[in-house]
């Protein structure tokens, strides 16, 4: 069964997961568009890894549904795993295997031809092919994780914090690699590194305490959907009066004057602002030298959505602890 091109690559509805009495996911609903690079944002303990583990069949949902490429993750779990490449948060492989051995094993288990050489080249590990996985650095291990996720050229990549624990150079390499992969697969990855999201994602969802508090195209967040913020600079002595007139408009939330004819204008209606802002300023006698929409920083948006929380530390520890309990 294959999903149509317009159908979401991943979708979950009212997805719940409890470990005993602890509810980790109270009911997550979101969709990951096909061919998107979807950043799954959230503080530690938000439930990102739990959601991904459910998609990969490593955990069973308490209730709700999850589909990948139109396949039910519980009923069609084997087929989902055949078509999805997965990078766990802390990938571990049989310790006696070499780097090439891990990729060869992954190919055998997926039932595809051995792609070891090309994948090692893709992730820049050709010279480490015969090295045991135990001897790899953090960055090398993460690149191997990406390589094994790419075995069989999957339609969807689910990557749990792919750049976590890497030094700046390693992070840059991994992000560059993901950037190259965006044309080959839908990428659903979790992170709490906002720089990564800003650089890589075209769509995001923010998960807080197991609930998606916002999701959509990243521009919707940084530019604004209905509301918008504008940077205005007026020349001449009429600037203050023009700003006062502007502040009285019903579609203006606030006008923050910084002096020298410069102000930041928050509006509550983006469309109206686009049509009315310039005429209103001109009618009020303002000589408009500069008028441009400003992007809100992703960090500001993130903290406004999460309430500035870092969440509970050790998401995986929570998962495992509960699982054993």
């Amino acid at each position: 069964m294959s999903a149509s091109s317009t159908a979401p690559a991943i979708e979950f509805h009212s997805l719940r997961k409890s470990f005993g009495r602890t509810e980790v996911l109270p009911g997550v609903t979101t969709e990951v568009p096909t061919h998107s690079v979807f950043g799954f944002l959230g503080p530690n303990g938000a439930g990102k890894s739990t959601t991904m583990k459910i998609l990969m069949g490593l955990l069973r949902p308490t209730s709700g549904t999850a589909r990948v490429l139109g396949l039910d993750v519980e009923r069609d779990s084997l087929e989902v795993r055949r078509r999805v490449g997965y990078l766990p948060q802390s990938p571990a492989y049989p310790s006696h295997l070499t780097v090439a051995g891990v990729l060869g094993l992954a190919a055998k288990l997926r039932g595809v031809a051995d792609q070891t050489d090309s994948l090692l080249e893709t992730v820049g590990l050709t010279d480490r092919a015969d090295r045991r996985v135990q001897g790899l650095s953090g960055g090398e291990a993460q690149r191997l994780g990406l390589a094994q996720a790419l075995v069989g050229d999957p339609d969807v990549l689910i990557l749990d914090e792919p750049s976590a624990g890497l030094d700046p150079a390693g992070r840059r390499e991994v992000l560059g690699l993901l950037d190259d992969l965006r044309t080959r697969a839908t990428i659903f990855y979790s992170t709490h590194l906002l720089d990564d999201v800003a650089r890589l994602s075209d769509t995001i969802a923010v998960l807080v305490r197991g609930e998606v508090v916002a999701d959509g195209p990243i521009d919707q967040f940084t530019i604004g959907d209905t509301s918008s913020t504008w940077q205005v600079r007026l020349d001449g002595p009429t600037a203050a009066a023009a700003f006062e007139t502007l502040a009285r408009q019903p579609w203006v939330a606030s006008v923050d004057c910084a002096g020298s004819g410069v102000a930041t204008v928050d509006t509550i209606d983006r469309t109206t602002a686009e049509h009315e802002l310039l005429p209103v300023l001109r009618e009020a006698g303002g000589h408009v030298a500069e008028l441009r929409p400003t992007r809100r920083s992703l960090e500001d948006i993130y903290f406004s959505l999460t309430g500035g929380t870092n969440g509970a530390d050790g998401e995986d520890g929570t998962d495992e602890g509960q699982a054993d309990g």
Binding site: K53, R81, P88, P94, G111, V112, A113
Partner: protein, 271 residues
């Protein structure tokens, strides 16, 4: 760069990948771990036999029976100790999660662990040290011989069937097979416990408890239907009276049951 299907890409049987994963597990054990098992196991068998064999007027068959039974208990402890992490460690370090994120069922994963580890444990802990010990035992069976390399060479050059109570190599191999099956049964039990537990102490406790149950079963004389029959079947004078086939079947059946339950249990475990 689409991956070309190597065989049937639509294969979705529950046990696809068992062979591949079993080989991975076997290579994890061989040769280093298996050699360690053999080196740990062999001297104990020899020591017990020679210690008992020195007693005057004791038929060697009885000496061997006691030695092998004692050795079986040592094998049980060695197997419980070394196999406790077969599944639990893989869960703990994330290897299991990575493996079953591939198109492999958890049942196949557990079965592969068993199929891969069983021959390594049987060979390393029982068969190899047992066979290596045979010429030494033959030497010891000669009550007049001195313990040492000369005696071993001397015994190998003679017809050992002339010694009272010394089993033939064939009979001895059957005894070793039964002890090996006991070891495999305990491996299956450790997989079963490891399918739910990760604590090393708990695994060791449950493993030793299951071994103790076997010993109690034997003590109660209800050994024939349990894997613990191996303890009794090694007695040379009972090889004929006690049918070996039921013992083999019982050990294999109990092992299979333990693996099936382990697979069922692991299938429900969060990873």
């Amino acid at each position: 760069m689409k991956g070309r299907p190597m065989a049937d890409r639509s294969r979705s049987t529950a046990f696809a990948g068992v062979g591949t994963l079993a080989m991975v597990e076997l290579r994890r054990w061989l040769p280093r771990r298996a050699i360690v098992l053999a080196v740990a196991s062999l001297p104990i068998l020899l020591f017990v036999t020679f210690a008992l064999g020195g007693e005057a007027d004791t038929p060697f068959g009885e000496v061997l029976a006691v030695a092998l039974t004692g050795w079986s208990i040592v094998v049980v402890l060695v197997v419980v100790g070394t196999s406790q992490g077969v599944l639990a460690d893989a869960v703990e370090d994330g290897t299991a999660a990575w493996t079953v994120s591939m198109p492999v069922t958890r049942k196949a994963y557990v079965l592969a662990k068993f199929v891969g580890a069983a021959p390594a444990i049987a060979l390393g802990a029982v068969i190899v040290p047992g066979l290596v010990a045979y010429p030494f035992l033959a030497a010891s069976a000669d009550a007049n011989s001195e313990f040492g390399a000369v005696a071993v060479i001397d015994a190998l050059q003679r017809d050992t069937s002339a010694y009272a109570g010394l089993p033939s190599l064939g009979e001895y191999a059957i005894m070793l097979s039964l002890i090996a099956l006991l070891a495999v049964y305990l491996l299956a039990m450790m997989l079963l416990f490891g399918s739910r537990l990760t604590s090393a102490a708990a695994l060791l406790g449950f493993g030793l408890a299951s071994a103790a149950v076997l010993i109690v079963f034997n003590g109660l004389g209800i050994e024939e239907g349990t894997p613990g029959v191996a303890f009794v079947a090694v007695l040379p004078n009972r090889l004929e009276e006690l049918a070996v086939v039921p013992a083999l079947v019982a050990s294999a059946a109990w092992s299979a049951c333990a693996v099936v339950i382990a697979a069922w249990s692991f299938d429900r475990r969060p990873l």
